[in-house]
Symmetry: C2
Subunit: 342 residues, 2 copies
């Protein structure tokens, strides 16, 4: 990338707003000389938060005033109708206008998806945009979609997810033929619902590198590069994993703090435990992409810290460099033609 | 329990057959003086495996010959039609005939459910039997159902799951009013599919201690005693958790074996790590109940070892003591009447 890339940041979104977004922005600017960032939100507050940054990166850091903030529990409909000058909306508007190449928000997922869909529109051939993210696996990571945008998908829509996922992974991970798996259940009697069975046929006939059904544990084995499921299932899988990770952390801490001896052992084991934790640090995987839109929108976890938010910005930069929406648009046309479902 | 309880064990099922089932059986007999066990399977092979046991527990350990074995990948239909003298089928037949109070099998889930349903029949008022198991949580454990028997359930059927789950937990955990949660997704825009939304209304109007929607991470927080979802979602949540636990174990082992120093640290930390592992040892949670049937059938994990299989037998013993099927039958009649859906 020698060209200047501009990313709009919803600086008021998420649980922490500017206290997280501003340090993340400064970190990114320090690391990437060719990046410009636009902080969208309350001008006065943002100026306070990044006075030194504005000086240091005068030509590459900019504030765009927005008077409103979308609440974390606000309904998508309310946000869309009543918050036309929210930091979230304005950040997406900048993408639409071409003033930014992508935007990143830690705001509420429902409002972000609804607004992005309304402003940017879906790509031709895509019925429903989806949420995709990389999840750490034993051998690297696996991209999973949909993580919660659509609870009911028919077979054709699951097929579209597969095309979007494979195209994104080919671009961002530079994999020639990413392995695509369709999430299903194991017990013989009940191998999948109708939608999944039909999607299986569509995928088998497609030009994708389809490896067939996978089960929940395959999310973490690394046997697939892309795993496709509807948003209800994907969201539950993701949240369940978060819950289990929290419980394991809780019990581990408990085990090492039980008494003086275990505390001492914990002290000795700290460097090893740290290297282990780093391997699956969720902050390193922060940043889900809203795919299927005519523009790049990255959703950061609402509770993300600066390191995690910076990771989400990095994902936006990669997707800009690889022109992900354009590539998906081309690929979906090609695949739909190839399978005769166009 | 002063009365003698008889449990039939499918001694040929699972990945390990008698090499696991026989030691588990001997362990149970040694612990419980009032328990009789019937090992169902190939007589010659079983006699070989438990010669000393047959002597030691002459009056409480019995072999019931069965000529066939249901394969782990065999379809339910084939098992049902072609394997009428399988160890699995005969064990279930013993329950039907009243010769056993419950049966335990590590055989394939689909065949077990199909056979149990065919032989024992569902309880009046129950459309679909389900699979339920306790899962460790921060504050004890949470029962989740359905874990894979039914991929498509309507609102009324989800309601039946809730009644079955609550009744089972009230009986086995001696909780007066178990908290029942309905699994849903988080993002506002898409709060659930139609089935879940309607089940929410039914549950809200019921006499159950319904705490509303819960998300995937609540499986592990312990905020609910029973979590209800369809079998597709439940199966994915369970398998995803298994996969994540395996990955964490893998990375942890890797961190502690990287070099001589980390190995030494690992050695020092071993007792602490063991106490931590014991807390979430999946073997202590082995044994899922097939609920909604006119009889008690417990499914052990196919790869279970003797400790785990013995745990599944213990679950069978508790359900016999609490007369779980009878209690569910009474409760479903009562609840359906109360909500006017009878």
């Amino acid at each position: 990338m020698s060209q200047v890339v501009t990313i709009a940041l919803d600086a008021m979104g998420g649980d922490h707003g500017p206290t997280v977004v501003v340090p993340a922005a400064l970190e990114i600017l320090a690391r990437h000389a060719e990046v410009r960032l636009v902080l969208v939100g309350d001008q006065a507050s943002l100026e306070q938060h990044c006075a030194t940054g504005l000086e240091r990166f005068a030509d590459r850091l900019q504030i765009r005033h927005a008077t409103q903030v979308v609440g974390m529990d606000e309904s998508p409909a309310t946000a869309l109708r009543g918050k036309k000058d929210s930091s979230m909306r304005v950040a997406i508007d900048l993408v639409k206008e071409g003033a930014a190449d992508a935007c990143v928000s830690a705001g509420n997922t429902g409002a972000l998806m609804a607004t992005a869909r309304f402003v940017l529109k879906t790509l031709p051939g895509i019925d429903r945009p989806a949420i995709i993210s990389a999840i750490p696996s034993i051998r690297g990571h696996t991209h999973v979609l949909d993580l919660g945008a659509n609870v009911d998908l028919d077979a054709g829509q699951l097929f579209q997810l597969a095309v979007m996922g494979a195209t994104l992974v080919r671009a961002v991970d530079s994999l020639e033929r990413p392995r695509v798996g369709l999430l299903n259940v194991g017990a013989e009697e009940i191998k999948g619902n109708e939608e999944v069975k039909q999607a299986h046929v569509l995928l088998g006939a497609s030009e994708l590198n389809y490896i067939g059904f996978v089960e929940g544990d395959d999310v973490y084995t690394g046997d697939a590069d892309v795993i496709v499921c509807d948003g209800f299932v994907g969201n539950v899988a993701l949240k369940t994993s978060e819950g289990l990770a929290q419980m394991i952390t809780h019990f581990m801490r408990q085990a090492f703090t039980r008494n003086l001896l275990t505390r001492f052992v914990g002290l000795i084991a700290t460097p090893v435990l740290h290297s282990f934790k780093k391997r699956i640090d969720p902050r390193r995987y922060n940043g889900a992409s809203l795919v299927g839109l005519q523009g790049i929108v990255i959703k950061s976890h609402g509770g993300a810290d600066a390191l995690a938010f910076a990771n989400a910005i990095d994902i936006a930069l990669i997707e800009v460099a690889k022109a992900v929406p354009k590539t998906i648009g081309e690929e979906i046309g090609h695949q739909l033609q190839a399978t005769g479902t166009a």
